[in-house]
Amino acid sequence: MEPRRYDHRPRVLGLLLAGLACAGCAAADEPAPVAVELISEYAGVVPGQPSQLGLRLRHGARWHTYWINPGDSGLPTTLKWTLPVGFKAEDVDWPLPQRFEVGGLYNFGYDGEIVLPVALDVPADAKPGSTVPIRAEAKWLVCREECIPGTAALALDLPVVEAPAHADPRWTAQFAAARLRQPQANAWKGEVHEDGPRIRVTLRGPGLPDGDGLDAFVAERKVLDNKPPALHRDGDALVIDAGKSEYFTTAPATLDVVVTAPAATGARGWSVKVPYGAASAPPPAPTR
């Protein structure tokens, strides 16, 4: 979960076509569990300059979709792109997940409105004056207690323009909000220790959060169980004490850890890659 600094990308231009879709809507008399559309931050793309797309999800009350690691059940939202030669959509820059508890099981994902940002690589030989047909098949699972799988064929036609690109005013607020929901970069270092049924991640570095309401997640499945971990400060370290997944089979090379803290406007959070390597070494005695 290395945060891609998409907020520092050169400004590009863009026009956007919203493909609004609700596949698998339960009943006609009920509001859609989720409305899905493809949006572009800019009104056009500039040859050789990366641009910014987003999958905008607007959930009905109490409905949610999933993070890259969905937790005890659920499925991550996926995008399959069909793009002209030379264009490439990067992986989703997953926003900070929320934790949902249903009947003692835990899921990670999003409710309300969320944009899943996707960086678009634009080839240097794209021809100004032409139009780029951007097509994506989105698949998601939306749940409150019950779950409904959805799929939509999304389309967006963007003009190729000479620099500079102009922001599309319709989506400025959405992309600004999406940036606030991205994990922040940091200079933390971490290590992992396995201790029987527990896995402890110890983080050190400047600006570690403190206080109540901290939560932690890992992008990899089948490593931690999905129950809320205990987080505490140990001197200058932040220790995440989590249960080991009962489906644990092989250790990942690295653990993509996300730490979230409550903030005035939703959560803020950080991501850090922690080598899993010497996880079997005994941990130092925990102190509080």
């Binding site: 059940s73 499925l75 099981l105 698949k139 749940c143 207690e145 019950e146 779950c147 499945r221």
Partner: protein, 202 residues
């Protein structure tokens, strides 16, 4: 620790006490008795000497519908029955929650689906679901003739609600059953289950 974790030998109870309530591969599977949809009590240990498959289900879950809609589960059940394997379907949806069925509704559902399970077990209070730490529907377990848990986890290798993925997925239960029948170790004894969360009472 829940009392039903102690139904087997002391060694099992110790192992269970050291970890969570989740059952452990290679250890005795938690014993239970549940009433099935015909009103008959079904006790796991009564099937000692035969291999038993446990299938967690929720008839309204799209992932369950994927596998029944494509005939995948009915075929696995029929193949298992032909091989002398006991297949028990378990519904842990609480009353008022999605997928909860009473006995009559369960019988009607099995009949409509063309199911071939030996019995459809009603676990409305979720006791057995929690004993097995069943998380999703479907969620699958295979217990060998000695009562030892040999497989737990997903129904297959591709986590999706798409029937189209079935052709490319490894079906873990038939694979485990074939390996057990051949006296081999189960090559994939644990996988992560996928699907809807089990609709337990809060």
């Amino acid at each position: 620790m829940k009392p039903f974790a102690f139904v087997f030998a002391a060694a099992c109870a110790v192992a269970a006490a050291l970890s969570s309530a989740a059952p452990v591969i290679g250890q005795p599977a938690p014993d239970f008795t549940l009433t099935d949809s015909t009103g008959t009590p079904q006790t796991l240990s009564a099937y000692k000497g035969r291999v038993v498959v446990l299938e967690w289900t929720n008839p309204e879950c799209p992932f369950v519908r994927k596998h029944y809609g494509a005939g995948n589960l009915q075929k696995q059940q029929a193949d298992a029955a032909a091989a002398g394997v006991v297949w028990l379907t378990v519904n842990s949806s609480a009353p008022g929650k999605q997928g909860h069925l009473d006995a009559d509704a369960a019988n009607a559902w099995v009949s409509a689906a063309g199911g071939h399970a030996q019995a459809y077990l009603l676990d409305a209070d979720g006791t057995v679901g929690h004993a097995y730490d069943a998380k999703t529907t479907p969620d699958m377990y295979v217990v060998d003739a000695q009562g030892v848990l040999r497989y737990m986890g997903g129904i297959d290798s591709i986590a999706s609600a798409d029937k189209d993925d079935l052709a490319h997925a490894t079906q873990y239960v038939p694979q485990a059953l074939a390996e057990i029948a051949a006296g081999k170790p189960v090559s994939v004894p644990v996988s992560e289950p996928y699907g809807c969360s089990v609709k337990y009472a809060r």
